[in-house]
Symmetry: D2
Subunit: 455 residues, 4 copies
């Protein structure tokens, strides 16, 4: 019975035995230099794609991780300066194109313009484990990019190839559960970025109960490494409090036919794949999977944080937002939230609720960033996917992080299959924010309140 | 216990259920036209990579297969004419580059030169099963290319992307055996191109005995479809007769520690991946696998056909090869092979052997094609991989095909790990043909024989 | 990522490599004798269950298959005579029990009565592959049992242990499809006993279309060997013609939500497990699986042969059934079926239909065997499972076999979940045959017809 | 590509979905009573093995776990009293046997003597998950057995069936590694009984390094539950200190070809399977696996505790062992070990070493229990398997447990393939303890020392 494709993948990617290569020893036991690495890259490019290239590629990747930090920087600059296209060839090809004006000459021009970096990256990808190493290499590059804009062309090459290799068509959706290999689960603990997982018991509580689901995208060449994953709770109504979900000790006994799937955490795992989007595909495929498994599900909804609300509110508070003036009564009320434990004081809580909820509604529905979209990145993600802003939940996350980011507010976005397309279109073209009637009402009242006082 | 990566791959790729889409119905039940398809492609490109693009991509691929043959041709020409790069943008980008002379401007020029075809192909790849559909589409393109050279730029785009996607780093080596799923095995029957497999019993005879091995490369996005596979017999000596191997009824009882692995068939499976080479990687990885499984193996050798020897011999015979004159005695002897059943006549066989073997030695060692390499494609493949021409086997394949192609000659090429690198180098740089002492001797004698008579 | 349980099973059971043992050479290259085997068995029993026992067990099983037929018989008699319980110990234990009358003494008596054969079989089961070998050994025993009733006690021991080992709790339900390993599929071809599968293409036609299903029970220790399997067609109505199903070239295009699952073949695979029933469990579990996969299914029905109808009819025809007299008109009509190609002659067909259908209805509903149950074994199986006799299909199987067994009649039994329990009870207790209204009507008319004429 | 056997196993055993049964609610929400359970058992036995029996079996097992502790006891007594064999039938069968004296009548007597408990247990095993539930049930029984010897006959029935079901032929060897499902790994943490695993990081340190191995036996019907597992370190010499192994932070860089496999922990996992031995099979199969994977291995050795040495030494110390008198000097030295931190005081350590090692050698080589075998259970296990006592390691385990059990002594037993058989034979027949020359020397010296003083 079949040595399976999986087994092969596994053998190739995760088996440890005494054939394993030794850890990277550098050159003569010392770290390599950028120049030495450059020479190795040239040698790799000069090799002819034969089996020996695999060994050379492995060697380059092994040497790379021995580089000291400044040599890493120097190496990226060498990639920039020494592995671009051959400019003379570009000029020649351009001239040929201008003479013949043919599609073929354009094709040759395209080839001439392709930086040698791209060929190099493809060669490096020959090595076993090479794809992951290249993702990690780009991680280092992205960090440097913040201060060294000059490296942008190098990143464009990484980005070009990684986008092609991580095409949706090559990704694999996989359920993550307590029966999943520990080598994968430890990465879930590591990469969960929305509501931190404290340890293996916490992880088990998130995965094992029969009303919990977790799915991730994987790429065959990355083996155990998830690209992105989403955590889901199956419930009988739209949840408003994430702590209830995370700390639930047991499944409600009567949950036989859940009606609602609540996505309460979506985490991107590979910083080196920044800008290559999977989250939207993931949510929509998970919706399909869940519907198939559990036909009683009717509502697919997120329970999402509002990571930049507090920053905006602070700006408003300090009159940094030009057109907006907070009514004095609201200012006073908001001052209650300066007390460190305000959320456990019933009066503060009661007073703050209407004000904060109104401001969140206004923030999400009315304010825009420079490109004309909502200011909150999570809102942009879900609304851009075609979801609808459904509900604003007061004290939906009273963790330190939740209080700090959004005064404890959590938001639900609903993915309604028959309106996704339309919402998406109107969002992209008009910056339109799809909202439920309830949110709309609050937003309108908030606008009135704010307007009134502004006079 | 893990829902495995494999299961996901499988679920995604091979599961059949009632959610399956219906077979392609075209537009209103009639085949699509090239123009309609073009419009669908434009729509796909205009979509924004959202989940809805997946559906559009699937639709385009489904419509494509409904095209009538002439519409297929028209569609490729539309790809050529309407999906190239934006020429104005190319010119602008070139000017910007000439002004700034910066790497960034070159990067923009590269982008401007990228034909829209490539973006289109990447989008099409979003569809489930899209990769295989694109490989099949290129198959159709390659066939047209023979007569319509104008389509070359289109093929360059296919080739560019497929090379990147089918990078060695993404391939998976997999043993193929009698326990392998039938859906894969039927493809082995279909794709075996060297020594045809007549039916499932024949297949079983090739895979199941404990002295047989078969390995293939697979790509995760292609599921059941092999890319290339190799058939191996484990033996106690270098075999010379392929019929013995193919029709062997049972494993020699005393074969406890085979010394020799004989590769007797290498078949490329995807015509649509022509020009993207896997065979060399496959052989070398299989050598490693076998060594690990069976440490007694010492010799790795092929038993290979000589597909174009007969054609060359006929040319020589008709004095079409300028510099070469066959001695009259040889001509007379060769005439014996005109009898339909010469190979069952002991005298003909005895007379022909020295002459044919000498000519094969000469053909392989001395003659060259326009690029300076041997004329036989199989020889070029193995010698280019760094193998050594080891032995020429008289009556090594007396099947109709074998007699027709090479008067029944089969050849052994040895893959000797410690000389591969050097052989490969010399072959590439000097066109040097690595040979065993025995073959060298025969080739020399042949050269003398031919020279003598040429005077 | 996990070396999986499956892999281990597979490694253990199906991997072929050069560590494999050589085929059974007997003793000094000649077949063993029953006496020699007996000695080996004694040695195995004397060993202490240590790892070395595994080797001894393997040896006994390997020697067994070298026995000549008469030695096989002799060996079974040795098992009978020399491997029973120790009779003195039985007597002693019985006396002890009569004195103490304790449960413990009974437990010791039970031990004393256990034939040494059972310990021997458990020891033999230690060998890799031993379970299958023992099933095969019982196969040989069952064949001899027909003529040698003396061997019954030996079979009771086999049966006792196999029943325990093949407890339903240890069986695994597995879908069989075109993606299933060829090593399993070849066994489906071999074991299909209802409607023979002619070759791999025929098999593919049965498994691959999206409206076909096949499921089997497997036992982990038997690896590739199925125990029993069932073939299913998903349809939009209860089918009456099995040839339509078997030779269907394609799935009806409009079959999006099948309402009916038709079980058209149930095959037991291991003759050596005769008397250990799995078929009822299989059908009921498959009903659950299908409902889960395809919620539109409402009707679960068989399309079954009537293997012994013709024999009964012949007996009636020859007045061998005492109480039953065929009306003369019926006799005349039935004579039409003596023509070899009657079923292609419209008039014969039309005349025969009412008579044969009436007789089948009578045969199934009214006649009984000595134990008070229907005479047809297939009917006993399904009715015993709680199914209902639903419909009698004229010319439901015009294959040679179908015509021969039942004049082409096929029968539907419906498994209606809410009446299974009750049907089963009444069948077991009263021999009640659950029937549809339609069949009941026909049976009644038939009874009247027969009665009338009997006067 | 195949829904695999594994998948089926998994689906059957580990998948959680909304079809799962609710947790056992008892009867009307209250715990069941023993009498109620008895009635359910009778009903199950009266059912006819049909599919409905599966549901009944599940129900009985679910009710069982709701029993209060005293009702559990009552239930076992009901099993004893009400589910024995039918005594009248036993008597009748015995008489029939005495009359006919036939093997068949003995077979019937055997059947008559089989307690109804066995049929009941087989029926209970029909339920999904039933096997594990029965193992757990026996766990409860074994605990009661200590005080209630009357229940022995009940346990004999459990033991009889479990031995048959957990026959070596049904077990599956499986590597346990960091890629293994977390649901299995958590059980490794839970069941490790020799050197406790503190948490998941500790577990990773035991499994993940390339010089560590872990293997376990699994039974297909028990899914994730291991039966027994062994932890192995690959080293370049026989290790003497277990803390070095357990706390090793990294693999020695130069360990390319380990020569030694050290088994440093063997844990039985299922108390309910007590008395059904797997450990010996496990060690021997793991030796084979490791040899295959890593041909450089030459020595297979344990690093074992000495769990009952200290108890023996205390007895000797208090002159409780009749024939043995400690020399006064030894007594004085041994008193040093009364200091709580003696093992960190170099002088105490130096003084104690020769005395303690001598006593261990004497204890293992010379002393015997009532049956004539060594007193130490771990020694009995390995020597009984045919291993040789190789070396006594002073301060081989300075954990609290190690110091407490054996004054920190650890022992190596070598499994030498070519002497296992012989050692085992001599051990079983003569109580012979196979020892290395080194240990023999020490034992002899110790004997002399002890003898001398005894006078």
């Amino acid at each position: 019975m079949a040595t399976s494709l999986l087994q092969d993948l596994l053998n190739a990617l995760t088996r440890r035995d005494f054939r394993d290569r030794m850890p990277h020893p550098g050159i003569d036991g010392r770290p390599a230099t950028a120049q030495e690495l450059r020479l190795a890259c040239e040698e790799l490019l000069a090799s002819d794609g034969e089996a020996s290239s695999i060994g050379l590629a492995r060697q380059v990747l092994d040497l790379y991780v021995t580089l000291d930090p400044e040599e890493v920087g120097a190496f990226f600059h060498l990639l920039l300066d020494a592995f671009g296209p051959d400019r003379a060839a570009v000029d020649t090809a351009y001239e040929a194109y201008k003479q013949t004006d043919s599609e073929l000459s354009l094709s040759h021009l395209f080839d001439a313009c392709e930086p040698r970096r791209q060929a190099l990256l493809r060669r490096l990808n020959l090595a076993p484990g090479g794809t992951l190493d290249l993702v990690r290499m780009r991680e280092g590059l992205l960090k440097r990019l913040r201060d060294e804009e000059a490296l942008v062309p190098v990143d464009r090459d990484f980005s070009h190839l990684l986008s092609s290799w991580f095409n949706r068509g090559f990704l694999v959706l996989r359920r993550i559960e307590w029966q999943t290999p520990a080598s994968i689960l430890e990465k879930i603990i590591k990469y969960e970025s929305v509501h931190a997982i404290s340890d293996w018991n916490d992880l088990r509580r998130r995965l094992d109960p029969r009303d919990r689901r977790c799915f991730g995208f994987f790429h065959p060449a990355l083996g155990d490494e998830p690209l992105v994953f989403v955590e889901v709770a199956l419930t009988s109504e739209i949840p408003g409090d994430v702590q209830d979900i995370i700390h639930a000790e047991e499944t409600p006994a009567n949950l036989d036919a859940p009606t609602t799937a609540a996505f309460f955490g979506i985490s991107n795992c590979q910083y080196g794949l920044r800008g290559i989007s999977f989250g939207n595909f993931l949510i929509k495929q998970v919706v399909q999977e869940l519907k198939q498994e559990c036909p009683s599900l009717e509502t697919f909804v997120t329970l999402s944080p509002l990571p930049s609300f507090r920053a905006w509110l602070d700006a408003v508070h300090h009159d940094a937002v030009e057109y907006l003036r907070l009514p004095d009564a609201w200012r006073e009320t908001l001052a209650l939230a300066d007390a460190p434990d305000w959320h456990s004081q019933p009066e503060s809580v009661a007073a703050l609720e209407p004000v904060v909820v109104a401001l969140v509604a206004h923030y999400l529905c009315e304010t825009r960033n420079a490109e004309g979209y909502p200011q909150d990145p999570v809102a942009r993600f879900h609304l851009g996917n075609g979801a609808r802003l459904e509900r604003i939940n007061w004290l939906g996350d009273v963790s330190d992080k939740g209080l700090h980011q959004s005064l404890g507010i959590m938001v639900n976005y609903v993915y309604a299959i028959d309106e996704i397309e339309n919402n998406h279109e109107r969002y992209v073209n008009e910056g339109h924010v799809a909202t439920s009637r309830g949110v709309r009402k609050v937003a309108k009242a908030a606008a009135d309140g704010l307007k009134e006082k502004k006079q």
